[in-house]
Structures are given as structure tokens and as C-alpha cells.
């Protein structure tokens, strides 16, 4: 099953490689990983998407908590939460397809960031599923380049992750 883990960790060189190293050493899978400093510059927030059954998830959470650089973490899906991912996508948009790409982008609430007479560069946000759906809808043959941030998430309501 897919799980999203939000991790608050020391903003120190090496912290990221400890997490990445843990996953490779123990054979856990990382689907995506996103990390940046928070408003408190001593802390970074990481969002990690992984797969695993209940026993594996229990170990992943315990092993992460064991890392000295990990301050706190939460499993996002334990309560209502919002998930977002950002995608920048460069598409071939020439001839009659030009209108079609524009229309698809509108449906998915994309923003066209850059235009040439052959190309659209589009910004999209949403759940990872939604971005997947857009990629599928435009079709492999139109895609020149895809950049995705990996999922990020935050809990709804009062629930917060802070040091």
C-alpha cells in the first residue's frame, strides 16, 4: 500500500543521506522524496512516499525515529490530510493538436508558463494521481520533458507537525 510520511529533521548536511541510506540499506522502497527547509531554518521538512505492508511500515517509522537527525514524523494518511504535487511538463503542441493540448490543460487547471509556436510548457498541481492522469491524457508521443516535485502533504485541521 502507498504511504506518505512527513518528516521534520535537522537541517544539517548529511541528514538527507541518512534517510536515503536507511531506505537502501534495509531494502525499503522510495517512490518519491521531497525536502526543503521550513520557516525555522534549523529544520527541514521531508515528504516521503513509500510502499509496504503494515509490518514494513511499522519498521520504517521506527527506524526513521531512531535516526538522531529525525526530530518528528507523522504518517499522513492516519488522519485527513491534503496531498499536492507540482509538475512542469513540456509538450509538443503544433498543428491541430495545439488546441487539444490547451483544452486538456484547462480541464486539469494547468497554467501555461511558456509558449513557442511548437511547444507549450505547463504547470500543474494536484495529487500525484491527478498528475498521472494528465500525463496519460496527453499521451507519450507529445511529451518532451516532465519534472515532478514528488508529493508533499499537510494534515487538515488542528493536527500539526512541529518540533
Amino acid at each position: 500500500m502507498r504511504h506518505i510520511i512527513s518528516i521534520l529533521m535537522e537541517n544539517e548536511s548529511g541528514a538527507l543521506s541518512r534517510v536515503a541510506g536507511l531506505f537502501s540499506a534495509r531494502g525499503y522502497n522510495i517512490e518519491s522524496l521531497n525536502v526543503a527547509p521550513t520557516h525555522d531554518p534549523t529544520l527541514s521538512r521531508m515528504t516521503l512516499v513509500t510502499h509496504g505492508n503494515e509490518a514494513i511500515m511499522e519498521q520504517i517509522v521506527k527506524q526513521l525515529n531512531k535516526l538522531i537527525d529525525v526530530v518528528k514524523l507523522m504518517e499522513l494518511e492516519e488522519a485527513p490530510a491534503v496531498e499536492r504535487e507540482l509538475m512542469l511538463i513540456k509538450l509538443r503542441a503544433d498543428g491541430e493538436a495545439r488546441e487539444e493540448v490547451k483544452r486538456l490543460s484547462d480541464i486539469f487547471r494547468g497554467r501555461i508558463l511558456d509558449v513557442t509556436n511548437k511547444i507549450y510548457t505547463i504547470e500543474l498541481t494536484g495529487t500525484s494521481d491527478k498528475l498521472d492522469a494528465f500525463v496519460e491524457a496527453v499521451g507519450e508521443s507529445r511529451i518532451l520533458e516532465v519534472v515532478r516535485s514528488g508529493a508533499m502533504g499537510i494534515a487538515r485541521g488542528e493536527r500539526v507537525l512541529r518540533a
Binding site: 543521506s17 540499506a25 527506524q63 537527525d69 526530530v71
Partner: protein
């Protein structure tokens, strides 16, 4: 007060109460050696290979419970230390290893003797630090000792660039450490302890399965009182030996792959397993699918990640085992509840039947020296009270089986990593920590050659170790597996071209003895043990065909042991 990084380093060690440091110099740590030279509080032991320094620090730590300290130079010094660091990590040894590093301005330039020590050691440390500014040095060292020695202990590496040790900075040693991300649990949760108690007191076929956590957590007294009060049988893991008196009738011996029949059968048939500071290692459980099929399991451990890692448990309790056992003893006392006497009586009757099989019997009439016999005599002649280190292989298992350890911290071996070569340097660290005690290193002719150079260190520091070499001319444990599982195809397990160990010991300035007949074993051991100012190296020529029994073969359950 202003001083150089190197002076700060020495002062910090003093503040931590470090009396001894094992190391080897080199370019990147010359400032530190210069500072060590100019003081008397911290003494330094010069080993012959950095691996020896780290293992010696482990031996010191494993036999005292205090933090062991090693110091090595950058590059090859650090990489030579890696095996010892990994060994300490697997056995949760409290240790701080200082590695020299090239100056900060050169880091990343492939400078002379530069390695990414932080990167190399990351997966085998509890934590590591690179100190980039002399202003952070004292606080970092404080954190290193704190992390190494609290919670589930482990090795911490501190990488010290050369310019940081030369730079001047203020010295102020922090009184305490606060780490927002690291707060080990001490007390167990009262609700969980109550649940565990209810299960424990009603057990009909209980067994206490105690591991290295009891030794590390200094909880042998509490464990013994707990087991004695209940009258329940106890088994120890390889790392837990000495956590409960080995000569006590409630002790069933070690469990696991080469554990006793009675211990493994009792585990298999138990209805309640009380795991104390043990981690359900694969050498203990055998096939996890078949492990303890009838039991509810209580597991107390300071490391939450050890709980339900390989075997799902019913009542987990996170905390220091010493504290949890104390709380359980209070409950036991205050509740006035007693174990189920008649069930327990039946259980012991069953256990005694298993025990009557005498799974550790061996041929006592052999013309050849049986390795088991040497260990039995060693136990008898030392009154069971020596500090014993071992290397890795058959001799390690025989020592674990036949030397009945009554006290904690006496049995020093490499359980997790299974590192050949540790025995001699472990023993150096043990002897340094306990100058007046008998320290014995039981080894094999394969293992001893992996750190044999430390015999020179032993001479320099006058360490009167007793080396018991069980010389079977084979990498015996490998040979045993080849005999059992590879139809006797002994690929690369015969140790040809062995040195003359008696002459070798003499060349290093020690006393060498060769013992070839069973009737000479006692005399040799007595003579060696009487020489308390000399290292004696005893080369026992043992039966090369002897195997370690009993054994749980791979994939089998604990009730499927091969007996002799």
C-alpha cells in the same frame, strides 16, 4: 579559556572520565598526539593495526559498561577501523571513535589520505559528526559520549579535520546535553507492565529468554531476582551469557542454532515467552514461521525498533530492562500473586526429561584432545570467574556452551557481526580495564592470524593474557558446514602452512606451549594460569573432526535439532 582544538580534545576526554585511549598516529592527528604527549591524565595504548584499536576499545567497553574510545588517522586509518565500528554497531557497544580528517579547505579534493569517513561509516554507527569549527568541538564530543552510552548504546564516530585541531577556541565543557530529536525511553509504560504481569503470573509453561540487553542495561541482578522469585526457567542468548548465573539449576543454557536441546525445546513448547533485552536474531529463532508456535510473547527492550521486527510480539514494553524488571518485581511483591505451582512443577518435569538427554555430552575417552574438554577444564581451573574473550568459529560456540558464566561482562565475543580476529584485541582492552583479573582469549588458528600482530602490543604493555588456541588445522566452522551440507567437499577450509605458534609467541617475546595429549591439558593450564606476569600462548592440538552439537540446521524450527 582559549586553547587549541587538540588541547580541547584532551580536556573533553578527561571531563568524560576517559582513562585510556586505543589508537594509532598519522598525519591528520599529529596535533592531537602532540597534545596527548604533554599530559598525564589520559593514557594512550599504541596498537599495531587500527582494527586492533577499535576491538580493544570494544573489549574495554564490553567488560566495564563504560564508553570505549579509539583514535585513528584519516584515510587508511579510518578504513582500517571500519570492521571494529561495524562490530560495535551490531553488538550495541558504547564507543566513540575519533578519526582524523584532512583540513577543511581540502575536504572534497581527493587530498592525500582523504576518505569520506562520515559517508563510509554512516550505516554502521549510531550517529556520526564532522566537526568543522573548533567552537563546536567540545559540545560535539559531549553529544558523542551521550549518544554512545544512552538508550540502546552504539558507536559514534567524530571526524576531526586537522585544521580544527590546530585552531584556537574557547573551552567550556557543557554540563548536560539536550537533543530535541533524541530522548530514549527509560521507564516502561505502567499499563503495558501490568498487562505483561498478568500474562507472566498465569503462565503454565513459561520461559525467560534474556539477551545482551541485560548485560548492556546492567540488569543482571534484577533479572536474577525476577527469575528466582518466579522459579521460571531461563535461557540466554550468546550475547546474554552471564546475565543469569550459568551454574544455577534454573538455567537451561544458551538457546539458538548451537543452544541446548532443553532451551530450544522449552522455547518451542512454552505458552509464555518473556523476552528481556533480546532481539529475536535469526541464529536464535531458526525458521521464524516455526518459532514459538504456542506462546504469547512479552518483549522488553530499550529499542522500539527491535520489537516486532522479525517476530510479532503480544505485549511490547519499551524502556530500560532494569527499570521494567524492577517494576515487575514490585508488582509481584505488592500483588501477593504467586505462579501456578502445579503447572510449573509439570513444566519442570518435562524440562528435566529434555535435559536428561545431555545434549552437550562428548567422547571423554578419546586419545585426542577434545576442544570441549579444554574449555571444561579452563572453567574448573579458573573457578568460572575469568574474563573470557573468543574469536569466531567452533571454539566460540564451545566456549559459550562449556564455560558457565555466572556474572555479567565476563564473556566478550562478537555475536552480531561474527568477526574473526576480535579475540586478542578484545582481551587487551579487557586486561587494561581489569589489570588484576585473569583474562583469557579462546581462539582458532584461523581467527588468531587475523590480528596476530597485537601480540606485540601485549608485550609493550605487559599484558599477561592467556591465549587458548584450539588448533584443529581447519577453519572448523566452515569445515563443519561443508561436512554437513556439501558432502564433505572441504573447499578452502584446510589451513595449510600454519606457523609454529610456540616459536611465534616466543618471537613476540611471550611464552609458548604446545599441548598434544589430553592428560597434559590440566598441567599446561595450571602452569599458564600461575604466571600472572607473562602472556602465555597455549597451542592445543585438538581433534580436527570434532563438530559443534547440537545444531538447528537452516530452515528448521527450534524443535528440530540435530543431536550428536
Amino acid at each position: 579559556m582559549e586553547m587549541t582544538g587538540a588541547e580541547i580534545f584532551v580536556r573533553c576526554l578527561k571531563e568524560e572520565g576517559v582513562d585510556i585511549l586505543f589508537g594509532y598516529p598519522g598525519g591528520a592527528v599529529l596535533h592531537i598526539y602532540d597534545a596527548l604527549y604533554q599530559q598525564k591524565d589520559v593514557s594512550h595504548v599504541l596498537v599495531r593495526h587500527e582494527q586492533g584499536a577499535v576491538h580493544a576499545a570494544e573489549g574495554y567497553a564490553k567488560s566495564t559498561g563504560r564508553v570505549g574510545v579509539a583514535l585513528v588517522t584519516s584515510g587508511p586509518g579510518a578504513t582500517n577501523a571500519v570492521t571494529g565500528i561495524a562490530d560495535a554497531y551490531m553488538d550495541s557497544v558504547p564507543m566513540v571513535v575519533f578519526t582524523g580528517q584532512v583540513p577543511t579547505s581540502l575536504i572534497g579534493n581527493d587530498a592525500f589520505q582523504e576518505t569520506d569517513s562520515i559517508g563510509i561509516t554512516r550505516p554502521i554507527v549510531k550517529h556520526n559528526f564532522l566537526v568543522k569549527d573548533v567552537a563546536d568541538l567540545a559540545a560535539t564530543i559531549k553529544k558523542a559520549f551521550y549518544i554512545a552510552s544512552t538508550g540502546r548504546p552504539g558507536p559514534v564516530v567524530v571526524d576531526l579535520p586537522k585544521d580544527v585541531t590546530a585552531a584556537r577556541g574557547p573551552f567550556k565543557y557543557p554540563k548536560s546535553v539536550h537533543l530535541r530529536s533524541y530522548k530514549p525511553t527509560v521507564k516502561g509504560h505502567p499499563g503495558q507492565i501490568k498487562r505483561a504481569f498478568d500474562l507472566i503470573i498465569k503462565a503454565e509453561r513459561p520461559i525467560i529468554y534474556a539477551g545482551g540487553g541485560v548485560i548492556l542495561g546492567k540488569a543482571a541482578d534484577e533479572l536474577t531476582r525476577f527469575a528466582k522469585t518466579l522459579g521460571y526457567p531461563v535461557t540466554n542468548t550468546l550475547m546474554g551469557l552471564g546475565g543469569f548465573p550459568g551454574s544455577d539449576s534454573q538455567f537451561l543454557g544458551m538457546l539458538g542454532m548451537h543452544g541446548t536441546y532443553e532451551a530450544n525445546m522449552a522455547m518451542h513448547h512454552a505458552d509464555v515467552v518473556i523476552a528481556v533485552g533480546a532481539r529475536f536474531d535469526d541464529r536464535v529463532t531458526g525458521n521464524v514461521e516455526k518459532f514459538c508456535p504456542h506462546a504469547k510473547i512479552v518483549h522488553m527492550d530499550v529499542d522500539p525498533a527491535s520489537i516486532s521486527k522479525t517476530v510479532k510480539v503480544d505485549v511490547p514494553i519499551v524502556g530500560e530492562v532494569k527499570e521494567i524488571l524492577k517494576d515487575l518485581l514490585v508488582l509481584l511483591h505488592d500483588s501477593g500473586k504467586k505462579p501456578n505451582a502445579s503447572a510449573l512443577q509439570n513444566w519442570w518435569k518435562q524440562i528435566e526429561e529434555w535435559r536428561a538427554l545431555e545434549c552437550l555430552k562428548y567422547d571423554r575417552d578419546s586419545e585426542l584432545i577434545k576442544p570441549q574438554f579444554v574449555i571444561e577444564r579452563l572453567h574448573a581451573l579458573t573457578g568460572g570467574d575469568a574474563y573470557v574473550t573468543s574469536d569466531v568459529g567452533q571454539h566460540q560456540m564451545w566456549t559459550a556452551q562449556y564455560y558457565k558464566f555466572d556474572k555479567p561482562n565476563r564473556w566478550i565475543n562478537s555475536g552480531g557481526l561474527g568477526t574473526m580476529g576480535v579475540g586478542l584485541p578484545y582481551a587487551m582492552g579487557v586486561q587494561m580495564a581489569h589489570p588484576d583479573e585473569t583474562v583469557i582469549c579462546v581462539t582458532g588458528e584461523g581467527s588468531i592470524q587475523m590480528c596476530i600482530q597485537e601480540l606485540s602490543t601485549c608485550l609493550q604493555y605487559g599484558l599477561p593474557l592467556k591465549v587458548v588456541l584450539l588448533n584443529n588445522r581447519y577453519l572448523g566452522m566452515v569445515r563443519q558446514w561443508q561436512e554437513f551440507f556439501y558432502q564433505g567437499r572441504y573447499a578452502m577450509s584446510y589451513m595449510d602452512a600454519l606457523p609454529d605458534f610456540v616459536k611465534l609467541a616466543e618471537a613476540y617475546g611471550h611464552i609458548g606451549m604446545r599441548i598434544q595429549h589430553p592428560q597434559d591439558v590440566d598441567g599446561a593450564l595450571k602452569e599458564a594460569l600461575s604466571m600472572n606476569d607473562r602472556l602465555v600462548f597455549m597451542d592445543f592440538i585438538t581433534d580436527e573432526r570434532e563438530n559443534v552439537y547440537p545444531m538447528i540446521p537452516a530452515g528448521a524450527g527450534q524443535n528440530e535439532m540435530i543431536l550428536i
